[in-house]
């Protein structure tokens, strides 16, 4: 049953999103070649790809700005997308991207419909114990609470008897769940960040919990009437690329090696600066 579900999801995700993802990867590849990559590394990439011949199926979330989102031109972009493209370029593997959403991405990897996922997934012990296999961390992020811009809530104390929004199965959901009894609030679960922010701005919930860089980027770029409450952040955890099947260890090894290379070459800093402006 789950297999069929994941298959059908993968099928719809693939048909609609593959062209955009491909064009994005191509564009990134062209850019790199034109700017800095010497011709031989591109050739080497082709050879390696030809040798293994495998097209890795990588899945991701639909909207987790600035890690993955659709920009104003309709292209699917983000830090995760650029890192993935840069790592693939460096390591010479080819991949096909499917934009499934968070839950469906996990399900697809578990069901073997996809090989790996990159979706701003925090590396945690609980996840490792449940079968996630992570790469090295590629970005450190923590979770915070945000409220509507004119709200007078200044901390968790203001949440008593109120409802807060979180995204199903995320670190921020776990963070909110750990606080709900102490501060006496209830939790409403949404599927993605935009819907959750909409609920905060519309007053359907009093606050939301999400990853701090995601909220900061959204507030900065979209001018959404929301503010992050100071002092509500937890300890940062690293985001990692993940697989669920030990047979794909090769993919994680390539990711780690590629990540180290793009960090050394300055490409990584370039990507972060492009999205976060620092």
């Amino acid at each position: 049953m789950a297999g069929t579900l994941a298959l059908s999801l993968a099928a719809c995700g693939g048909s609609s999103s593959a062209p955009a993802a491909d064009s994005n990867a191509d564009a990134a590849a062209e850019e790199t070649q034109a700017e800095e990559a010497p011709a031989e590394s591109a050739e080497a990439a082709d050879e390696t790809a030809g040798a293994s011949g495998k097209v890795w199926k990588i899945v991701t979330d639909t909207a987790f700005k600035p890690f993955e989102y659709t920009d104003d031109n309709g292209d699917f972009v983000g830090i995760d997308m650029d890192i993935l493209a840069a790592v693939a370029e460096d390591q010479g593997f080819t991949y096909e991207l499917q934009i499934l959403g968070w839950d469906a991405s996990i399900a697809a990897c578990q069901a073997g419909q996809a090989d790996g996922m990159i979706a701003g997934a925090s590396i945690t012990e609980e996840r490792k114990a449940s079968g996630w296999i992570f790469s090295d961390g590629y970005y450190d992020a923590n979770q915070s609470m945000a409220v509507e811009a004119s709200s007078d809530i200044t901390g968790f104390d203001g949440l008593s008897g109120k409802s807060v929004a979180v995204k199903t199965g995320t670190m921020s959901a776990a963070y909110a769940e750990s606080l709900m009894e102490q501060y006496g609030f209830t939790i409403t679960y949404f599927e993605d960040s935009p819907t959750m922010y909409q609920a905060v701005v519309g007053g359907q919930v009093a606050a939301c919990f999400d990853d701090t860089p995601i909220m900061a980027s959204n507030i900065k770029d979209t001018g959404i009437a929301m503010k992050i409450v100071e002092g509500t952040g937890n300890d940062p955890a690293a985001y990692g690329f993940a697989i669920f099947n030990a047979d794909n260890q090769e993919l994680v090894d390539m990711f780690n090696a590629g990540l180290a290379n793009i960090k050394a070459s300055g490409k990584y800093d370039e990507i972060i600066a492009k999205y976060l402006g620092e």
Binding site: Q110, G169, E191, Q204
Partner: protein, 223 residues
């Protein structure tokens, strides 16, 4: 599978309860809406016919997920921000009930209109010629016959509405699917979770359709 049942069973059952509550509330208002627009659809007044037809066309022409986002996020935004001066804040349960009532109501209106029209015109004419008023003829002669033909389609619509509650998981109402997504996210056991959820729906809907069959048999006595 055992872990899901022992650890999350209570949570899933409570979610099923909320699913049923939402479905019942939705169906209750859908019946009222369906009756009003269904009767308007067969009324002799042209304006009533047109209003009924427009309502049915609009609701049938919009997917329920769009309706859900519209009612929960769009309508409060319209009143609070665009128009201003109002303070409308719907809970997910209220918004969900409105969506189900409108959506199911439109289909019920069509079922009722078709049911009434399926009764031979001669029945109404005969009743009127015996001196019954239009309202009485409708209540005593036409409707009893129409309802019999409507029952199976009604039950079908009830079942569809019960299943449609799952769409409302997108606005954060903690019905069965919304809750199950959480269980799946916590346990990463997608096969087990969705198997159990599927079985839960199956049991409830089977009970519903079996009892509907019994009801249908009772009502068709004397036909």
């Amino acid at each position: 599978m055992i872990k899901i049942i022992t650890v999350y069973g209570g949570m899933l059952l409570a979610a099923m309860g909320r699913t049923l509550l939402l479905a019942l509330l939705g169906l209750f208002f859908a019946c009222i809406i369906g009756m009003i627009f269904g009767i308007m659809g067969v009324a002799k007044n042209r304006v009533c016919n047109v209003i009924s037809q427009i309502f049915v066309d609009v609701i049938r022409g919009v997917p329920m997920i769009v309706l859900a986002f519209f009612v929960y996020f769009g309508v409060p935004y319209l009143f609070n921000t665009i128009i201003g001066g109002f303070s409308i804040n719907l809970t997910a349960l209220q918004a969900g009930t409105i969506c189900l009532a409108l959506n199911c109501g439109a289909y019920m209106a069509e079922i009722i209109r078709a049911g009434i029209q399926s009764v031979d015109k001669g029945q109404m004419e005969a009743a009127r010629s015996l001196g019954l008023t239009y309202g009485m003829a409708m209540r005593k002669v036409v409707l009893p016959q129409a309802i019999r033909t409507m029952i199976p389609t009604f039950i079908n619509q009830f079942i569809i509405t019960l299943k449609d509650t799952s769409i409302l998981s997108v606005i954060g109402f903690p019905e069965l699917v919304n809750t199950a997504k959480n269980v799946q996210a916590n346990t990463f056991m997608s096969f087990q979770t969705w198997t159990i959820v599927g079985i839960m729906y199956l049991i409830v809907i089977t009970i519903l359709s079996r009892s509907a069959k019994v009801l249908e048999r009772r009502l068709s006595v004397g036909r």
